[in-house]
Symmetry: C2
Subunit: 453 residues, 2 copies
């Protein structure tokens, strides 16, 4: 299932394992890897707008250090000397962090987010910061002080968001891996629309400390990469929960049962996307697949609870900014925040109860199925700034459509991964797999099996 | 510090230890203990309205069983054969449970609340159900379908609430111990106003399963008794956390430092109450007492966060009843629920954050002080239905005043106990001690020391 976006840097389709091997036999140095990233960035970024800041000097310095260490026999593991891009709502010491907003124009944190700290300890080289939908509050990736991020497969289209820059940086091969955040699908949606792998772990698995919050109940840090194996390596490095029995946990049984979640109850679905993803799911399962009707019937509850929680928590974070400096927001984000203000306290409490009930229900479903499978996004990448769309004769709101199949797993805190699932009319589609709480490694292992088929 | 309310049953001032000793040497049987309770109830209850239902037949049956067991050498411990009263918002199998509301007129649960289950396993005999302010939503105890509960020290005055009946049942010696609930002070307030001991444990220490919820973040089950030792015995029986090293935990050091919380920032305070409680606190500390100014400065935050959380959670529970059957509520409770509806979701989220900050702050304070001390209630028992009051020339809202010094410890989930602190103009006052999270046994042990002085 190989895809070729038109704009290709050195890292397109290259695995961490391969890079590490070649780095250690001296085929290239970390400094040279950084140079390759910077060259690709210089050529490609003006066409896609994936980076908000390129930290060239600091990256070269870190890469030199990585090279010295390797020469001295200090080896920090699979991320040692590897260029990584970090979404611009994740704090990076001495590197500008804008949240995509005029509110934070010129802001330079004095400390790293926990996940960045861990990346650095693992020897990774922070290449720069990637675009985010303003304050990560939107799945279209075309609304930020730095302007829209463009989809490399068709630059008249959106890349999806809010981790638009991280997805595009990997899709174009500027970096082999990137870090994003995912509150309703913000890693998986742009991964699906740009043809890379996007992973959101179980809630709490990767620390959100030092990430600008959007909605604390729903916020996750996620990973974008070329392969599921790379996701596994990065997860191991940046998650505090070391899994000593990794190899055991990752064993994929010969037979396992997939539960197909019909997307239609969640949103109108592009028939071509539906067919492509369903065929892949059937193939992955070896025929051992059933429809999970229980979940689709709960679609309304998922949507309602997610919306009430996100709105209440997001407005709480922004209340003073909205009051004193509304003019600094992107217009659409301000509108959404103002609408979020009106949710009632009792509705929020009720939504949290519904969340608990759904978490209970899903545990029962996972007694029957090892994994749930569905499209990541029910549509293909819309045009930039497009907000409504005809899907099968129905008018669909773009934002709702993009979030419809990913946000349920933020609400429940389940691990979920989007993997490329072929092109439809020249645009990537994504297949999403969802596992039971804590089954992150198993999920990634199954994804690896599918991608290498 | 002995007090004599005018209406006295057999159990007035009698300890569980004493009852247990006399029961086991055959001075009386459990059946006779039940009879003493029923006789006292028949005489006294018409004057104070403490019971909503007396389960005479079931009590006799349980007492007979307890007597048979003792005769056969089966001894369930300090509650074996002891009559207990249970607040009417706590579910009791086959015994009517009304929540003090027309909404639940005639309702008979088919299962026991977890705490009742534990009482029964410990051999206690459920004598009946005690009055509650409707749905436990009010600290005055004069607003329920069964009418007001009267203060035995002056029946023109309120007993305080919402566990009015449980406090009065113990105060009058109808039962030696009773169970209540405490969301903002509902065990400690009536304990203070009727001259008994009222204890609210650390959050989660006693299960609230099977208790009709008022506000899940703030709800606690509490205990009312004649002595701190009795509180300790009951806590051990109904708390799932067995404390094997009880004796160690309960050792009260010769010297410990008390922190005086000035009540004035929380509410206008009756000077006579203030003086009485402060003198007792100084005596208890042996002079080792300082003023904790940090807490009083936070009074506004405490009040605001408590209010927003309680309102949001309470309305969530009642939203459908308010919509479809508003006419079944007591007028004042309906008014409060309707006002609670308007809190915003983001305000609730903010209040939960403030709660977390306050929980952090208090941990620092407990590094310096072993216990905090203050009045339980800053005023004496107001007249029935009185809603405003002159205190030192200021007009004070009775409900706010009653809750002002107890609700902060529900917000933080800290163990707190109210102990009788002498009469002012013939009405009881209460001294409140508050301990660090989980220090329930230490708190009770210090209270025991004070009471036996």
């Amino acid at each position: 299932m190989k895809m070729n976006p038109p704009l290709l840097g050195f890292y397109f389709g290259v695995s961490l394992q391969e890079l590490g091997r070649r780095l250690r036999i001296g085929e290239f140095t970390s400094v040279e890897l950084v140079r390759k990233s910077l060259e690709a960035c210089e050529l490609i970024n003006p066409l896609v707008n994936a980076f908000t800041f390129v930290a060239a000097d600091m990256a070269y310095e870190a890469a030199s250090m990585a090279d010295r260490e390797l020469a001295e026999g200090i080896d920090r593991g699979p991320l040692h000397g590897i260029p990584v891009a970090v979404k611009d709502n994740i704090f990076t010491a001495q590197i500008p962090t804008t949240m995509g907003s005029a509110h934070y124009k010129g802001y330079v944190p004095d400390h790293d987010a926990k996940c960045v700290e861990r990346l650095k300890s693992a020897g990774a080289v922070i290449l720069g910061k990637t675009t985010t939908h303003e304050f990560a509050f939107g799945p279209t990736g075309d609304c930020a002080i730095q302007g829209p991020t463009l989809n490399p497969w068709d630059t008249s289209r959106m890349a999806g968001g809010s981790s638009c820059g991280s997805a595009v940086a990997v899709a174009c091969g500027i970096v082999p891996i990137a870090i994003g955040t995912d509150t309703g699908g913000s890693v998986r949606i742009p991964a699906a629309l740009t043809g890379v792998i996007g992973f959101k772990p179980s809630i709490g698995r990767i620390s959100t400390e030092g990430v600008f919050p959007l909605s604390e109940t729903l916020d996750h840090v996620g990973i974008l990469a070329n392969s599921a194996e790379d996701i596994a390596l990065v997860l191991r490095e940046i998650s505090p929960e070391a899994k000593p029995l990794d190899s055991d946990i990752c064993v994929v049984p010969e037979k396992f049962k997939l539960g197909w979640v019909s997307p239609e109850n969640f949103n109108q679905t592009d028939p071509l996307v539906l067919d492509s993803v369903f065929q892949s799911a059937v193939a992955l399962s070896g025929g051992n697949i059933s429809i999970v009707s229980d979940i689709s019937q709960l679609a309304g509850k998922f949507r309602q609870a997610f919306g009430l929680i996100q709105k209440s928590e997001a407005f709480e974070i922004h209340s003073e900014r909205v009051l004193y400096h509304p003019e600094l927001y992107q217009e659409e984000v301000l509108e959404r925040l103002l609408a979020a203000q009106s949710v009632k306290g009792w509705e929020y409490v009720q939504a949290m109860h519904i969340r608990q009930e759904l978490q209970q229900s899903i545990l029962n479903i996972f007694k029957e199925f090892e994994l749930l499978v569905m499209p990541t996004v029910p549509i293909r990448a819309p045009k930039l700034y497009q907000r409504s769309l005809d899907v099968g004769g129905s008018n669909v709101h773009v934002r709702d459509a993009l979030l419809s199949l990913t946000s349920p797993w933020n609400l429940l805190g389940l691990p979920a991964i989007s993997i490329p699932c072929g092109l439809v009319d020249g645009l990537p589609t994504g297949l999403q797999l969802v596992a039971a709480p804590g089954k992150d490694e198993f999920l990634i292992a199954v994804a690896a099996k599918l991608v290498t088929r």
